[in-house]
Symmetry: C2
Subunit: 375 residues, 2 copies
C-alpha cells in the first residue's frame, strides 16, 4: 500500500469544519512551485492569503520547519519565520507578548495565516496568538511529535501556562487545516515518541475497543515505527478525537471530558514531580493506571481491564507506576483543576474497554488508594 | 414617566443572545437580600454562579463599584474585587498577566463570573480576561461612562493595546448581561460625558435618521443631563449597535464596519496627538467631520450633511477641527489600521443622514484634502 496518498479525516464542526491530512513525503525541494501536496491543501483550505507567519520549535528548524517554509514560500510568497525555544516553559505570558509584538513588526493583518510547526507547546502558543491577534487569524497546525499529531493539534484548544497552573488561559480556536507528515517524526527521540503512545492507547480505552485490539496485536510494529502501522494508529486516534470534539466543541455537554481519562491524575503527577521531570505521555500512562485502579475499586469495571491496559502500556515501553506518588501532595492539586465544578472531585472512569463515564463525588479515600496502588 | 422601570434591549445573537438593561436607581443598600433589580437580572441571565470577580476602575471605587459589590454580595455570596487604574495605559499585557494571576489566587473557576464596572478600558480588559481565563468565563458589563454605555460595553469586542497599536489583540466575547444605570454617571466629569455624545451622534448618521432628528431637537436637554432625554439617547444608541452587531457579530460580512464611521481618522488623530491628549469621543467628532468632508469631496453626498452634522456636534460642545492635523503623519497610521485589507485605504462614508457605505480605494489626495479641511 503506497503511503504517499494522504489519509483525510474531516473534523465536523459546521462552518468551522476542517480536514486532518495524514501523509508522508510531503516535503518539497526549493524551487518546486506547486509547494507539493501540502501546498495544494493549503490553498484549498485557506483561500485568499497574502502572508504566512510560521511559528516553529527550535528543535525542528533544519528539518520540518525548513521544509514547510519552502512550501509556504512557493504558495503564499511573503513568509516570516518566528522561532520558539523547545520546552513547556515557552508557553508563557512573556513569549505570548513577544510573539504579539513580532506580528506587528512583520505587518501581519487579518489576511495573514499563522502556521505552527512543532509539538504541543508551539501549537498551543501559536494557536492562542492566532486566536487573539486582531481578534483572530487563520491557523494551520503542522505537528512534528506523535503527541501533537494524535492529540494537541486536533480540537481547537490553545493557550499558555501561568505560574499558578498549566493551560490556565487560552481560547477555543479551530485550525483551518491540520497537516500530519509522519516523516517529520524522523528526528523525534524514542522516549518522546513512546510517550505519545500513551494518548494513542487512551483512545482505545475511552471509545474504540476495536482499535484497542488492533494495538494489542500490532504494538511491536508501532514501537518499531513501521510506517503503515504508525499511520493507521495516528488515523484512528485522530478519528476518535474528531468524533468527540464534533460532539462537544467547547466542553459544555461533558462529552469532551472523556478525553481527560487519566489526565486528572497525570496533571497532579506532573505538578508534584515538577514539570519537565516526566514527559506528559509518561504521566498519562501512570494516570490511566491510577484511574483504572480507581474504577475497579469503585466496582465500575472488571479487574481484567487493568490487566489488558497494563500489558499494552508495558508493550509500549511506558511506565506503569511512580514510586514517588504521594496522595497528600497530589489530591490538593486535583482539587484545583480547572475542570473541577465547585471543588468536587470528578474522574473519567472506564466500565469496559472502549467505554468510559464521568463519575462525580468520588470518596477521597478511594482516590488515595488508587494513587498508593501505583507507587 | 417613571424612570425606575428599566428599558430592556435584546441583542439577538442566537444562543449568545443577551439583554441590555437600562435603568436608574438600581443601587442597593447593604443588607438588602434581593440585590435590587440588578440582582434579579443577574440571576435571570447567569444561572448557576458560585463566585463573582468584580474588576473595577479606581475612579468608581466609592460610587458604582461599591454599589455593585453590595448587589453581588447579596446575590452571589463569594465576591472578589480587583482594582484597575484609570486610563488607557491599563489595557496592557502587564495588567492582563496580573489579572490572570490574581484569578488563580482567588480560586476562580469556570463557575465564576467576571463583572466589569467602569468605562471602556475596564470593560475591554476584563472582557478579554473573561474570554481567556480557563478558555472562557461568563461576563457582565456595568459601564459607568456614557461612551461605554453606548458603545464599548455592547457587541462583544474585548482586548488590550500593544506598544505598536491600540486593540491589536483580543477576542470576540459576548457578555451575558449589560447593565446600564444612568446614576452611575453622576461622578463622570462633563468633558468625558460630552465626549460620549460623539458616538451617540454617530448612530444617527450611520443608520437612524429619525434618531438624528431627535438629537437635533433635544441636544440641549441631553447636554444638561436631563434623565429622560439621556435614557432615550442611550436606548436608541444601544438599539442601533445591537442591530448592527446581530447582523455581523465577528466583522466578516462588512456590515459591522459601519460602526467605524469617523474612526479611521480618529485612530490616526489619537495616535499622532499621543494617546491621552484628546478624549476618544473628541477624536471621533473630528474624525466624523473629516469623513463627511471626504464624502462630499468624492461626490457621495450633499454638502448639507456637513452642515447638519457640524451643528449637532457643536451643540454637543464637541470639537469640530484639530489645528495640529497633519496628513503626512496621519495617513501612514491609517494604512496600518488592522481593518485595512492588503494595505488599501477604505472609509465608511455617508450618502445621506441615516445611511453610510464602505468605500474602498480612496485616492490619497482626497484623504489629504479632508484632513486639511479640518485643521
Amino acid at each position: 500500500m503506497p503511503l504517499t496518498d494522504p489519509t483525510i479525516i474531516p473534523v465536523e464542526l459546521g462552518d468551522r469544519r476542517y480536514p486532518i491530512v495524514i501523509g508522508s513525503g510531503t516535503a518539497v525541494e526549493a524551487g518546486d512551485a506547486s509547494g507539493g501536496t501540502l501546498g495544494e491543501h493549503l490553498l484549498g483550505s485557506l483561500g485568499d492569503v497574502s502572508h504566512a507567519v510560521m511559528v516553529y520549535d527550535a528543535a525542528v528548524k533544519d528539518s520540518a520547519a525548513a521544509s514547510v517554509q519552502k512550501t509556504l514560500q512557493a504558495r503564499v510568497g511573503r513568509v516570516d519565520a518566528l522561532e520558539v525555544a523547545s520546552g513547556e516553559t515557552s508557553k508563557s505570558i512573556d513569549n505570548l507578548g513577544r510573539l504579539w509584538n513580532r506580528l506587528i513588526e512583520v505587518n501581519a493583518d487579518r489576511r495573514s495565516v499563522i502556521v505552527a510547526v512543532g509539538g504541543g507547546v508551539v501549537g498551543d502558543l501559536a494557536g492562542f496568538v492566532a486566536a487573539t491577534y486582531t481578534r483572530g487569524l487563520r491557523f494551520v497546525q503542522v505537528p512534528t511529535t506523535l503527541l501533537a499529531m494524535v492529540d494537541s493539534s486536533v480540537g481547537g484548544k490553545t493557550g499558555i501556562n501561568l505560574p499558578g497552573g498549566k493551560n490556565m488561559v487560552g481560547s477555543f480556536w479551530q485550525p483551518h487545516l491540520v497537516w500530519i507528515d509522519t516523516d517529520f517524526m524522523a528526528t523525534l527521540p524514542d522516549r518522546e515518541y513512546l510517550s505519545g503512545l500513551a494518548e494513542v492507547i487512551k483512545y482505545g480505552v475511552i471509545e474504540d475497543a476495536e482499535f484497542f485490539a488492533y494495538l494489542e496485536d500490532n504494538m511491536q510494529a508501532i514501537v518499531a515505527r513501521d510506517p503503515q502501522s504508525v499511520r493507521h494508529a495516528i488515523a484512528c486516534s485522530c478519528q476518535s478525537k474528531a468524533r468527540v470534539v464534533a460532539d462537544d466543541e467547547r466542553e459544555t455537554s461533558g462529552r469532551r471530558a472523556i478525553l481527560n481519562y487519566g489526565h486528572t491524575f497525570a496533571h497532579a503527577i506532573e505538578a508534584t514531580a515538577g514539570y519537565g521531570t516526566m514527559l506528559h505521555g509518561e504521566a498519562v500512562a501512570i494516570g490511566m493506571q491510577m484511574a483504572a485502579r480507581l474504577a475497579v475499586a469503585l466496582g465500575k469495571c472488571e479487574a481484567d481491564l487493568i490487566n489488558r491496559q497494563t500489558r499494552l502500556l508495558d508493550n509500549a515501553q511506558l511506565p506503569l507506576v511512580w514510586p514517588q506518588a504521594n496522595p497528600e501532595a497530589m489530591i490538593p492539586v486535583m482539587a484545583r483543576d480547572k475542570k473541577v465544578a465547585h471543588g468536587k472531585l470528578r474522574f473519567v472512569l472506564p466500565d469496559r474497554i472502549g467505554h468510559v463515564e464521568l463519575v462525580g463525588d468520588v470518596p477521597v479515600d478511594q482516590v488515595r488508594f488508587a494513587i498508593d496502588a501505583c507507587q
